[in-house]
């Protein structure tokens, strides 16, 4: 029996560029590029990169095996040393966030949900291919639990055991052992040996990238700012998937341009623009909602303390003896000791780092983003707020997620916050003058 009106409708492939996530990225990118004046010319590479990867779904080439990382705690130097390429899987797409909700409770962290959603979709963006292995450092609960989910999706997942206390010597050694174990795992995966030469080359790669980042970081010390925070976030987000050497070269080019800007006395913002320190859950493209709102409202993000920028690239490794053994241990130390991730039991370091950043970057206030469901940031809010309160630094705590529907409300809050900072500044000047 066939009914004339009933028929099977075959799946109609939609080209990626017409998909929802492409649209989402397109919107944000247009916003980043077109709604601001005087974007640095060297940023064009990054704009084009994101357009190509997120809007057109172009493939990214990589060398050797692909090792996905779900956290900055995975030592990428080791991955490079084995001739593989690391790629950070943390995702900022609202589209994937919604997709990932089928794995995680809806109240859980958008970032983890989006990452799962991305990994589970047929059309993984950024398109880098299927990772040969995913390294999942056991940091926060949600990342921990996503391990088996990723495994169920058919990925080879390696749980890199990460301690939750960093003060003790025992945890330091535990972590060193974890990292050594990881090296063994990578050896099995790649079938290559960890050599002094290879590791040193990897150190040079990341070291140079870090040096370039630090240079970029130092230009943000200038007041008035010569570069906006949204561009910095875009640059550091590109580090997730871009070829490291090319990325470094482009950042170095950007640094050259910034030096010229500095010499010319260029201003990217009004000289009275409130300087904001950004902290908390990481802004990951295309979810640059909050930094963009701040800068649209006339503020400027001058520094950040988040794992998508500063925390990822700032701390550098020191090695005393350039031998595999010492280099691996140093590496382990670098990924544990300076880390200010809120997953640790105590986090005096984060508070101190924040206060120091406010001081050295002459920030007028702090915006603290916590993804709803990102419990560790939510829980740490009180103590951080108290520290800032004592230091007389205003802080705005924003609990949000990837959905764009609270933009209106957020913009009111951010504007009010910026206005209060401006007033404060005026008052201070009056008191001084």
């Amino acid at each position: 029996m066939t009914n004339e009106t009933s028929k099977v409708i075959p799946i109609q492939p939609v080209s990626y560029s017409r998909s929802r996530q492409a649209g989402e990225s397109q919107d944000v990118l247009d916003h980043i590029i077109d709604d601001f004046q005087d974007n640095p010319e060297s940023m064009q590479y990054f704009y084009d990169l994101f357009r190509s990867v997120y809007c057109h779904g172009d493939e990214i080439k990589h060398e050797g095996m692909l090792v996905g990382t779900t956290c900055i705690q995975a030592p990428e130097e080791l991955i490079y040393a084995f001739g593989a390429t690391p790629m950070r899987l943390c995702n900022g797409s609202y589209h994937y966030d919604q997709k990932g909700a089928e794995f995680m409770p809806s109240k859980s962290c958008s970032l983890v949900k989006a990452t799962l959603g991305m990994l589970n979709s047929d059309n993984v963006i950024p398109k880098i291919g299927k990772p040969d292995m995913i390294v999942n450092p056991t940091t926060c609960d949600q990342k921990k639990k996503s391990s088996s989910m990723m495994g169920d999706m058919g990925y080879k997942v390696y749980d890199l055991e990460f301690p939750n206390v960093k003060e003790s010597e025992a945890s330091r050694q535990y972590w060193q052992r974890s990292v050594r174990q990881f090296a063994t795992e990578l050896r099995q995966l790649t079938g290559r040996k960890l050599t002094k030469k290879g590791l040193q080359a990897a150190f040079n790669k990341t070291g140079r990238a870090q040096a370039a980042f630090r240079k970029l970081h130092s230009y943000r010390l200038l007041s008035p700012s010569i570069i906006l925070g949204k561009d910095i976030f875009l640059v550091t987000n590109a580090y997730f998937f871009d070829d490291i050497t090319r990325w470094t070269e482009k950042v170095e080019a950007l640094n050259v341009e910034l030096e010229a800007r500095k010499q010319a006395g260029f201003k990217a913002v009004q000289s009275k623009a409130p300087r904001v320190l950004f902290t908390g859950s990481p802004p990951i493209f295309p979810n640059l909602k909050l930094p963009l709102l701040i800068e649209e409202a006339g503020g400027v993000v001058v520094a950040d303390e988040s794992c998508s920028a500063n925390r990822m690239l700032y701390d550098m490794t020191a090695v005393d003896e350039w031998m595999v053994n010492d280099m691996v241990d140093s590496l382990a130390d670098k990924y544990l000791k300076p880390c200010t991730c809120p997953i640790f039991t105590k986090n005096e370091d984060r508070k101190r780092r924040l206060l120091d950043l406010v001081k050295s970057f002459d920030a007028d206030g702090v915006v603290y983003q916590a993804f709803s469901g990102c419990q560790v940031y939510e829980m740490e809010y009180r103590s951080v707020a108290e520290a800032f309160n004592q230091a007389g630094i205003p802080m705005l705590y924003v609990e949000t997620d990837y959905s764009p529907d609270d933009k209106g409300q957020l913009s009111t809050r951010i504007e009010a916050f910026l206005e209060s900072m401006k007033n404060r500044k005026k008052q201070k000047q009056r008191a001084l003058g």
Binding site: T412, R413, A416, E419, N423
Partner: protein, 271 residues
Amino acid sequence: MNYFAGIDVGSTAIKVAVVNETGDIAGVHVTASGSLFHKNSLEALNMLLSNLGLKRTDIRYLIATGYGRKLFKEADDSISEITANAIGAFEAGKAFGGVRTIINIGGQDSKAIQIDDTGNVVNFAMNDKCAAGTGRFLDVAARNLDLDLEELGEYHFKSEVAPLNINSTCTVFAESEIIGLLANGHGKAEIIAGIHYSIASRTVRLAKRVGIEDRVYFDGGPALNKGLVAALQDELGRELVIPEHPQTTTAFGAAILARNEFEAEQSLVPA
């Protein structure tokens, strides 16, 4: 004579305030937002001007605030309603011996603001996305109880028994909870009192986040609701300061700011 205006384009109502050179209120006007709030805003402004017998050119500086502030291009400048509210409350509070803490319940949001002794915002908190504890909540409740919004205040005091507990924090769920309570034979008065206490306790929690100092200035449309005021005062355990036109404090603040900005600009022009 120079006049200055502030317009607060809110989600439920548009408020306009005009002040003279000395910062005294010349007049206020409140109208519903409706769907065409740009048009309505202009109408509200013009209405007030004609009531006051002023021309559009008499308004030397106009500042917009509220959700629609950016879309109201006729304004000279815009400012967030939090700052405007703080300024307005600070100015209005002078008559009451000064205030440091402001609670504002609006149509869609509720805010608590702490200001310093010069009127600057020190700290503020806003409800998150959800509309629980806002004017909208009262709106929905009034509709469910077949009452006018204005009647809620009177009913509050008619209750003979203790206010009922309204547990739901979500407006939508609260609606069904109210229906359930009515079905169980509870009186409207105690339900209304319960609603007021529910909103009051949420608001107090918000206010505690910013810190409560001595007197609390309470504004926004729901401040006209005497029952809510009583509940809030009960929960706070503090003196409340309620201005004459609680709805227009924010617009008034914008107008004051307009006056200040104008003067600041004038002082920059060489004589």
